[in-house]
């Protein structure tokens, strides 16, 4: 394999890792602050993608589409937090899993009802549809580079928000001791709604950004949600830094595995069985990575016991 192809794949891995980070960051934040496992996070990703496709269809503007995705996902997040999620904070995880599973059913089928079963398409803006020449003569799609850049900016913003702002202090305090910050006069229920909407907005942004490369369809969120779970297990629950490292690891392993493993097996197997074994193994590679992390650090790389 040529080095150019390899670097392209590394960039692809980075791009999918960064998008996974946007999902995993919201999940891990919601779990860290509210102690809630939210299966419906994938639905918020889907809401973002559909909202972006709809707004882009009406206005033709990609920037407005992104804004629409952020607003729709944050609003959907705030609504379900107010109606359903807040009743679940002091329930056990089983109830949380079930209720948010029910939310997935409601979200998916309502979206199918509104938009139909056929995938929608969200076009990459014309200015970004071509490739960019990177140093070393590598041609790489400009839009994917933009995704990486947006993801990195959002990640930096999130770290700054949590480390430097008043809200960030409240979020960290909420992770440490929920009752205490309530006693100190912070309006906990408002904080919870805010954190949930923030996580939802991140998921919606990821959905809209990825929606322009893949098709926008019902059920697009759950595979990403499960990958984000793998990310969190690897990185450690509640740790944003862990989510970033885990997301990049998972993105790179997934992308490079599907390219490199068939090549590796073809060095000593015949072509057809090498492709079969390689693709089967690469589909399992991130789970094997997760199993490996569990063996050595059951609480994840950055998790605390």
């Amino acid at each position: 394999m040529s080095p150019i192809l390899f670097i392209e794949q590394v960039l692809n891995g980075l791009q999918s890792g960064i998008m996974l980070f946007l999902m995993a960051a919201g999940l891990t934040l919601i779990f860290g602050v509210m102690g809630l496992i939210n299966l419906a996070h994938g639905s918020l990703y889907m809401v973002g993608a559909f909202a972006a496709a709809a707004v882009a269809g009406w206005t033709g503007s990609f920037v407005l589409a992104l804004a629409g995705a952020l607003a729709a996902a944050a609003a959907a997040g705030a609504v379900i937090e107010l109606l359903v999620i807040r009743r679940l904070y002091d329930r056990d995880h089983l109830d949380q899993v079930l209720a948010t599973f029910a939310l997935i059913l409601i979200f998916s089928e309502s979206t199918r009802w509104l938009f139909g079963s056929f995938p929608l398409y969200l076009d990459v803006p014309a200015a970004l549809s071509g490739p960019v020449r990177l140093p070393g003569g590598i041609l790489y799609p400009a839009y994917r580079l933009l995704i990486i850049a947006v993801g990195l900016v959002v990640a930096a913003g999130l770290f700054a928000l949590i480390a430097r702002t008043r809200i960030g202090i409240q979020i960290r305090a909420g992770e440490a001791d929920r009752e205490m910050i309530g006693a100190l006069g912070v309006d906990i229920s408002k904080l919870y709604t805010l954190v949930f909407a923030l996580g939802a907005a991140l998921a919606g942004l990821a959905g809209a950004l990825v929606g322009a490369i893949q098709s926008v369809q019902v059920g697009m969120g759950e595979p990403v949600l499960i990958l984000a779970f793998v990310v969190i297990v690897i990185g450690g629950i509640g740790s944003i830094k862990g989510a970033l490292v885990g997301a990049l690891l998972v993105g790179l392993t997934d992308t490079l595995g599907s390219v490199l493993l068939p090549i590796f097996f073809s060095s000593f197997l015949e072509q057809s069985s090498a492709t079969a074994v390689g693709s089967a193994l690469s589909s399992m590679s991130i789970y094997i990575l997760m199993a490996g992390v569990l063996l050595f650090k059951p609480t994840g790389l950055f998790g605390e016991a």
């Binding site: 409601i106 089928e109 199918r112 779970f229 297990v233 079969a276 693709s279 089967a280 063996l295």
Partner: protein, 327 residues
């Protein structure tokens, strides 16, 4: 007689009564629905051992359901094509015999549950949910990308497998087979819950530190429970595949895990007959709501949400009231 015992008798009689009535009215489709409910209830009984008794929230039981299904699919497809599974070092041929298939399904899913459980049980709480979900998904993607047995398209088996001395092609007979298995497993699960092992497992759910203090290892108790639970769900998978004469990666999907969990919760977590009530209600809803609207999952979601938020304890819990602590 306790209210729950009475309810259990009613629930137990419900499925065969439905099947018999359908047989008399010559409605083979209803018999198939009753068979489906019995098989899904079996899967739920399996999950309930981990979930209800052991407190292990496994979101990956589709893995065992699918393995059971593929045990049936692979063995029967080899018998169908007269091609042996392997020739060296020793000959293994396919089979169309249900008992053999069941045994293979149970052993395969038990082994998988041992491996998945050994890793997943190193974690607890939310981690456990996510890890089991992820391992289920791993097998899902593996079956999709493994081309030998149909890949994404799945495997069709043309004729239902046989049981010695019975004509399984007859819907009522096949219902009888599935229901007999369910009855046997329910009896076993009831015994298990009251056995020394079941009590220790329950104790490990409620207070692991105390269980450790009296010299029992919660990890080992949970692992054994997880293996038993996976094996039963695998058996249900083999039966389910036989009902449809078709296996596909869908059996491994996370939705399948979620649905098996829904049977248990709708019926009542930790109640012996909870999964029976839950699976029967699920099939009924699927049939009734599915006939009303193409988007019946919206209503299913709403019902599920209401049950979780307001009717804790599921059907059995709501009708029979609080669980009796000492019985």
């Amino acid at each position: 007689m306790r209210r729950e015992t009475l309810l259990n008798i009613v629930l137990f009689a419900l499925l065969p009564a439905t099947a018999l009535a359908a047989w008399m009215l010559d409605e083979p489709f209803i018999i198939t629905l009753a068979t489906k409910a019995a098989i899904l209830a079996l899967a739920g009984v399996g999950l309930n051992i981990a979930l209800g008794l052991g407190g292990l929230i496994s979101f990956g039981h589709a893995a065992f359901f699918g393995l059971g299904g593929y045990a049936m699919g692979i063995l029967a497809s080899h018998a169908q094509s007269y091609a042996p599974l392997m020739e060296s070092p020793f000959l293994i041929e396919g089979t169309k015999s249900m008992p053999v298939i069941w045994l293979v399904a149970i052993v395969t899913s038990a082994l998988a549950a041992l491996a998945i459980g050994a890793l997943s049980l190193r974690t607890s709480g939310v981690y456990f949910i996510m890890v089991t979900l992820a391992f289920g998904q791993m097998l899902f993607y593996f079956t999709i990308s493994w081309p030998a047995y149909g890949g994404e398209d799945g495997l069709s088996i043309y004729v239902r497998n046989g049981f010695p001395g019975l004509n399984t092609l007859d819907p009522l007979t096949f219902f009888g087979v599935a229901f007999a298995v369910l009855a046997l497993v329910l009896w076993g699960a009831g015994r298990l819950a009251k056995s020394a092992f079941g009590l220790a497992l329950s104790a490990a759910r409620q207070n692991p530190e105390r269980v450790e203090t009296v010299g029992l290892a919660p990890y080992r108790l949970r692992l054994v429970a997880f293996v038993i639970s996976g094996a039963i769900t695998g058996l249900a998978g083999a039966l389910f595949a036989d009902l449809n004469r078709f296996v596909s990666p869908t059996m491994f999907s996370w939705q399948t895990s979620g649905e098996i969990m829904v049977f248990v919760i709708l019926g009542g977590v930790g109640r012996l007959f909870g999964p029976v009530a839950g699976a029967a209600l699920f099939i009924l809803l699927e049939h009734v709501l599915g006939g009303l609207s193409e988007f019946w999952h919206i209503y299913l979601g709403l019902i599920l949400l209401l049950v979780v938020l307001f009717a804790r304890g599921g059907i059995v819990g709501t009708i029979a009231g609080r669980e009796v602590a000492h019985d």
